[in-house]
Structure formats: C-alpha cells, structure tokens
C-alpha cells in the first residue's frame, strides 16, 4: 500500500496532538500534555477508491527553548500548519515556520489549520485576516479537536492534495 508522511507543525499548545488523537483514535482530552520530540501515528484513508496510508508525524510545538528540528521533516509529502485561534502569536509563528519548512523540504502541499473553533468567542484572529491569507493562495480550514469539526476534512484534504501531485 502507498504510504505518505505528513508533519504536524506549529507553536506549542495549538492542538496538534489533539487533532491527531481525534482523527486516529476518536478521543479528546481537556488536559494539555506537551509533546517531546515527535509522536508517530498511522491512518488509512480512501482517496478515489484507492487506499493510502498516512504516516502522521506530530512534532513538538516550537517555543523559545525548542526550535524546529529540520531532520524530522525529511521525506514529508505534506504538512499541516496548526494555529490556536485564541492566540494571535501562533499565527505569526505559523508564518515563520512555513518559510523554514519550505526552505527545508521544498514546495510540498500544506494547509493552514486554525484550531479551537469551539472557542470562537475568545478568538484573536479576524475573518478579514483569514481572507487575506486565502488571497495569498493558502487553504485555510477551521477545526476543533474537541468537537471534531473539520478534523476529518483536513486529513482528507491534504491526502487529496498529495495524490493530485
């Protein structure tokens, strides 16, 4: 079976691990547990009648002390840039990470995932700002690892982008 590696990239506590846990294991926990290094999971999706095995690399969230280790990105077919909608600084971090990732592995498909849509009352990212990002040609999808909103969609969408190449 065809396998493809996808990396989850973003600032710390944006919900990368929760998105993978929801998608692969259908579970969600309110407790925040930081990721050290990388957690790897696997899920099979169906794309146009063909099975594709997604190897999901959930990388630790970048912060002041831990910078993105580029060796983790090697061989990625795509990546998800994850932002916490309630923390604007995580969007700025996503922009800088996107440049780093593209410099490291080239122009592979990616999505901007704005997570925590169950907390929209607390969001610090305006619709107009998202529209500007979309105008740049980026695909932006809102998710909630808590409710499951958009979770299947991001992985299905990125798998389809991989297969289109």
């Amino acid at each position: 079976m065809l396998q493809k590696k996808i990396c989850m990239v973003g600032a710390f506590a944006t919900g990368k691990t929760s998105l993978v846990a929801k998608y692969v294991h259908s579970i969600f926990s309110e407790n925040y547990q930081t990721t050290v290094g990388v957690k790897i999971d696997k899920k099979i999706v169906n794309i146009g009648g063909n099975e594709l095995s997604l190897i999901l690399w959930d990388l630790y969230g970048e912060d002041d002390f831990q910078k993105l280790r580029l060796s983790y990105l090697r061989g990625s077919s795509a990546y998800l840039l994850v932002v916490d909608g309630t923390r604007h600084e995580t969007l700025e971090k996503a922009f800088s990470l996107q440049s780093k990732v593209e410099e490291s592995i080239g122009n592979v498909p990616f999505l901007l995932v704005i997570n925590k849509s169950d907390l929209t009352d607390e969001w610090e990212i305006e619709i107009e700002e998202m529209d500007k990002i979309i105008e740049r040609g980026w695909t932006v999808i809102q998710t909630s690892a808590k409710t499951g909103l958009g979770v299947e969609e991001i992985f299905q969408n990125i798998a389809e982008k991989i297969m289109e190449r």
């Binding site: 396998q3 493809k4 710390f12 930081t34 990388v38 790897i40 696997k42 690399w57 912060d63």
Partner: protein, 124 residues
C-alpha cells in the same frame, strides 16, 4: 581521530545493550532489509524477513530512506507502541543503518520541564 581503549568500547556497548535497548536494522538502497539485531522487540518490531520492504514493517521510516549523505538524528521518537527512541540513521558501503536507543528516561524528564515552561507561558 583519538583511540578509544577496547574496555571502554565494551563497557559502552554493554551499557547501551542493557540500559538503552540497542537495536538496529540494515537496509539496502532499494529499501529492502538486509540485516537486523538487538532488542527490536522493545520497539514493537518483530517478524522481520530478509529482502522485505522495510517501510511496510517499520512505518516511521517512510520518506527517510535512502539517505543522501548526511547522517540523521531523530531524538525522542514515539511510535504507537509507546516507547520513546532516539533514532540514528547513517550510511555505510553495505547500505543505510538504522539504530534505535531507548530514550524513555529523557522523554519523561524533558516533558516535566517543558510542561512547566509552557504552562508558565500562558500566565505571562
């Protein structure tokens, strides 16, 4: 290059074998398994067969092989088996070696520090 006395080499090897669950596989340039050994079972890896495609058995190697020169170091890699491993990948004439060393102790201690740091960031 400095010489390392054989007793030190042997001691280090014993230490890694006993405390870090040393395990390895050797893969050819077509991604087929040539050799394996050590405590692979500790990482949930079993039933390997010579000549089989390694990414079908050790799925986290997808995209990593073959190496194109520089060695790779992937610290604290957790697979679905729950064990955290430091993964080293390096080349030789025979093929690419993948070396696994248990990093559970590091993972537990780093996560404690990292968790406190990240929690503190929320209150800044």
């Amino acid at each position: 290059m400095f010489d390392i006395p054989i007793p030190i080499m042997n001691h280090l090897l014993d230490f890694l074998r006993e405390n870090r669950s040393l395990a390895y596989v050797l893969v050819d340039k077509d991604g087929c398994l040539l050799k394996w050994g050590g405590n692979l079972a500790a990482y949930g890896i079993s039933n390997l067969q010579k000549g089989e495609k390694i990414v079908q058995k050790i799925f986290f190697l997808e995209g990593l092989l073959p190496l194109d020169g520089s060695p790779l170091f992937l610290p604290c890699m957790q697979t679905q088996y729950g064990i955290c491993a430091d993964v080293h990948v390096f080349q030789s004439k025979e093929g690419d070696w993948v070396l696994l060393l248990d990093a559970t102790w590091d993972e537990i201690h780093i996560s404690l520090i990292q968790q406190q740091n990240n929690n503190a960031s929320f209150f800044k």
